[in-house]
Symmetry: C2
Subunit: 131 residues, 2 copies
DNA sequence: CTGTATCCTGATGGATACTG
DNA sequence: CAGTATCCATCAGGATACAG
């Protein structure tokens, strides 16, 4: 059951914080979570096209970890051609305040990162997302 | 100034989120931030004793990264023996809501991590911390 | 007291090509 | 369409010893 790849937490103050951080600290995880939060359900190649610089290997890998950590749901439709849909679990959706807080902080201090405007998308609180 | 070790953010949705995450995703960073948030100012060995399984090399490393990212302040007192004090910057203190949100989520879903109770310290909102 | 210097291992992330 | 298979570079993190 979802043993996290991140090996150990020493259960000091900040333990559960580190545990939570470790679940979203993969290279593409935030982006994936963000898209799923915004768009609800996406197929493998839909995600791939949206991220576009990600390799299939990495996308698979990140998706599998997110799934193992109980943050996303993977639904395979038995048909030809294959159809696999990804969506957030309830647990994953509960990350929303964290992602928002992170984005708020990141946007406020974006100067630290060498002027990379984030440009568009202020995150529309995902249309009909609050199940 | 403060070029982050994490090489690149593709500035897609989730970009600033990833940027923010990368600043706190070091192995001991959350713990360090947490202690500084709780206790205000700590010396090198005070942090070391509190974390206790951390090696001096790692502590130095994490502290330097946090400093480079503008989250903590390092104050050297020119005296013998040396005295170096670490504290949060305003920017670092602004991480509080994030850390709290992460802890809340982590505590709520702690079962995912293989039953590690977090035990004590529910984080007392740091005694006199709100400068 | 507050660190550095070396050396080392495993995990992370990526390029490229191939498959049911 | 939705992935696997290989191979490879880099880096985060740690053990141990030493230093100003």
């Amino acid at each position: 059951m979802a043993k996290t790849h991140y090996s150990r937490f020493d259960c000091q103050p900040g333990c559960s914080v580190e545990a939570a951080v470790s679940l979203i600290s993969g290279k593409w995880k935030c982006v994936v979570l963000w898209y799923l939060l915004e768009e609800g359900t996406l197929r493998f190649n839909e995600l791939r096209r949206r991220i576009n610089t990600i390799t299939p290997r990495m996308l698979t890998h990140q998706l599998r970890e997110l799934e193992a950590d109980g943050l996303i749901h993977r639904e395979v439709h038995a048909q030809v051609p294959p159809k696999v849909e990804y969506s957030l679990t309830a647990r994953g959706r509960e990350l929303t305040p964290i992602l928002m807080a992170l984005k708020a902080w990141g946007d406020a201090h974006i100067d630290l990162f060498g002027s990379k405007g984030t440009a568009g998308k202020p995150f529309t609180t995902a249309s009909g997302e609050q199940k």
